[in-house]
Symmetry: C3
Amino acid sequence: MSQFDRHAIDQVFAAADSMVPFANRQRVTRVLEGAILGNMFFEPSTRTRVSFGCAWNLLGGEVRETAEIKTSAIAKGESFYDTARVLSGYSDVIVMRHQIEGSVEEFASASRVPVINGGDGSNEHPSQALLDLYTIRKEVSDRGKGVDNLRIALIGDLRYGRAVHSLCKLLTLYDNVHFTLVSPPELSLGDEYIEEMRGAGHEVVESSDLQAGISHADILYVTRTQEERFPTQEEAERYKGLFRLNQSVYTEYCEPNTVIMHPLPRDSRGNANELDNDLNENPNLAIFRQTDNGVLIRMALFSLILDVADKVEDTARDVSWYTAKRF
Amino acid sequence: MSQFDRHAIDQVFAAADSMVPFANRQRVTRVLEGAILGNMFFEPSTRTRVSFGCAWNLLGGEVRETAEIKTSAIAKGESFYDTARVLSGYSDVIVMRHQIEGSVEEFASASRVPVINGGDGSNEHPSQALLDLYTIRKEVSDRGKGVDNLRIALIGDLRYGRAVHSLCKLLTLYDNVHFTLVSPPELSLGDEYIEEMRGAGHEVVESSDLQAGISHADILYVTRTQEERFPTQEEAERYKGLFRLNQSVYTEYCEPNTVIMHPLPRDSRGNANELDNDLNENPNLAIFRQTDNGVLIRMALFSLILDVADKVEDTARDVSWYTAKRF
Amino acid sequence: MSQFDRHAIDQVFAAADSMVPFANRQRVTRVLEGAILGNMFFEPSTRTRVSFGCAWNLLGGEVRETAEIKTSAIAKGESFYDTARVLSGYSDVIVMRHQIEGSVEEFASASRVPVINGGDGSNEHPSQALLDLYTIRKEVSDRGKGVDNLRIALIGDLRYGRAVHSLCKLLTLYDNVHFTLVSPPELSLGDEYIEEMRGAGHEVVESSDLQAGISHADILYVTRTQEERFPTQEEAERYKGLFRLNQSVYTEYCEPNTVIMHPLPRDSRGNANELDNDLNENPNLAIFRQTDNGVLIRMALFSLILDVADKVEDTARDVSWYTAKRF
């Protein structure tokens, strides 16, 4: 995430804006016809994997894919260096997810083609952070505000949630953001992040009280307990369901039109349920707009990396099949 | 399956007929170039998954895919509602298979794009039933008969076989079908199906005698013991191999030209072997024509759902590579 | 591999040469637009699976894929005959990998479309052998030599390494090859291979001394202990790390410019490490040129099988997106 400054972010967001007619199935482009994405997910994922693949397809390219580690040479003792050298001979861009922190950076340094981090362990998930920020900007701008001076409450597992980590880094680039961090002490955000945020002049308040934490915010960013990152399942269970947002809590404690976000998946099982289904009809629930924005952001990243952002229209035409209303 | 009446079925079959030159690799169409299929198989499948994907590719579209549940957010407690909302932002149509009965209907009700049921537990498998009926119609019409007044013997695991369930519902729409149900009592067809069939005026005979059951039929529809649906493997073993059809049984008991069908896979292990390999050269063995017809039916469904059935020819051209004789 | 004679090999290599601009992302062709590859990997693989898929995509075709056996009907007792009959209705060509020796041949005999062996157990891996031979020819020709009179040392697990088996068969077609086989006695090359090589007039020397074995060779072909083929993990562990090549061994014992090859993945874990990372900057390390050549060879095979090798240019155009320098 530290490769991005505000100018780069603005570029990505402008490109994302221009992708709406394509993601919305009004227009088709073939600008990347013949190009191949290596969609290398060495850790299980449906959402992010399909989102990246779909974004690439919408630009006209083909996807070659891996959906788990055990079908991989890495399981036979291959180094990231070798895997990168090999796979980068097969595609024009690689998206990589792996459960080891720092793995993607090591991989990228040996790759002969550009590499996008699709999530590396508890470390970072930059495309998620970009789509989160893009969503924040859109949502608060609909309400007459901007990212500067934003009041955001981050709620839940802030320790293992890589989406949170990357988002905090991004928001740090803006001015005077007010962060409220609501988590059990054991799952609090790492000191290195907090220091960086404070060092850049932002206000950071830590709390383990949900109701106080959400009462003066523009954005509530709720997260799932990342149980797959805990040493044991028992330990993960201890933290599930500690903070639950539902319509009545929202009505009682939040300002009107407070936006609700979540990197998804939300855990809807009874013992977790951090974001209740009774919020589904609340127009301020932005979680599905968020995931839709992910396609735009990933199309933008691909088009900028491959230097085709201004050529997308060259091969564009109207869609000629039935398309459902989507956005 | 209950969404289909005879008129809708005729529409699907007419569209399927028009797809032959494309499935047979004589012609290529690009009518869905730029469209994306979300091929979401949360239960293992090769045949059906690849058949749907291939049908989509033959119309010119791209496929994004999931081949198993554990790589999915559902495993992290995500509701079908959420999964549907998210995935429907990625594709133009979704095919979904899941082992929970009713899951696809729940999913479809939250999806923003059309959803096709690729099989939900022991419940239904409608595209299989359509290809079965399409095959029946073709096979008996070659023999001068129709689906009305059909005599069909359904053999084997009628309890857990979802292909059987969907096929019975479809056949119920026709006139005066004679059903012979051959199964061990514990694996008999559910009463609700039988009542529906009888209520519509069809004759239904239950039997646990293979030889009597197959002796006056136009179609033998043999099924595999759906061992993966049984509470325990031991219980499944008890029912394997109870009814076995081979060439000598066929010759002795069946009328000439009785058509043999099977939803596949057939279990060719010695302890099962419900349909012997010595039937492979029997011209009345329609099981591979059946699976080939699956591509036609799925192309037809896609083209009708996306309203391009009459535009397929607009982008069509002759194939220019070597193609094996197939149908 | 025995289907190939020197004339056929020359044809493949000529076609592979012509694929360089496409694999190198300078040119795009759509010659197989509309064609479908059935990429059926019933044994885990990333490299070979993605390499075949990528080669097909680079010719303009679509890929339908299976990445493991358990999602397959074969796990439900389906015969290779049935699987082949079914899957060959879905695609124009099939690539198949399976852990059972001879499985691919059995499958191919029932398939209605051409089948390429992507590796069958410890038996053969012909596309790997072709890319290995293509690499050998390129590398030694850069050094003024040919495949006739080649001196090659094969090192490591020669018993289970199917790439070695197929390569030996291919090299046997040439004249006067000098083979040095370096392995522990328990992992030596099967007698049937050695007899064939000697019967064709080649010199074969067996050794369990790495230093002697590598000292007079044009090519070192190093292999990984194929631990997944051993009866037990313990047995596999016994043979790991017996022969290790690193830069200082290379400098002390090899002739200048001896080419180092490996079918990959190399096992870089401390207890194995058959090819040390300190060789990565050695210009004679050809392992990544080898894997890049795999795309060319697979494109060549597809284009010859489908009879489009001379039509590739008909639909070709320059690439219009950013491409990294690759070869």
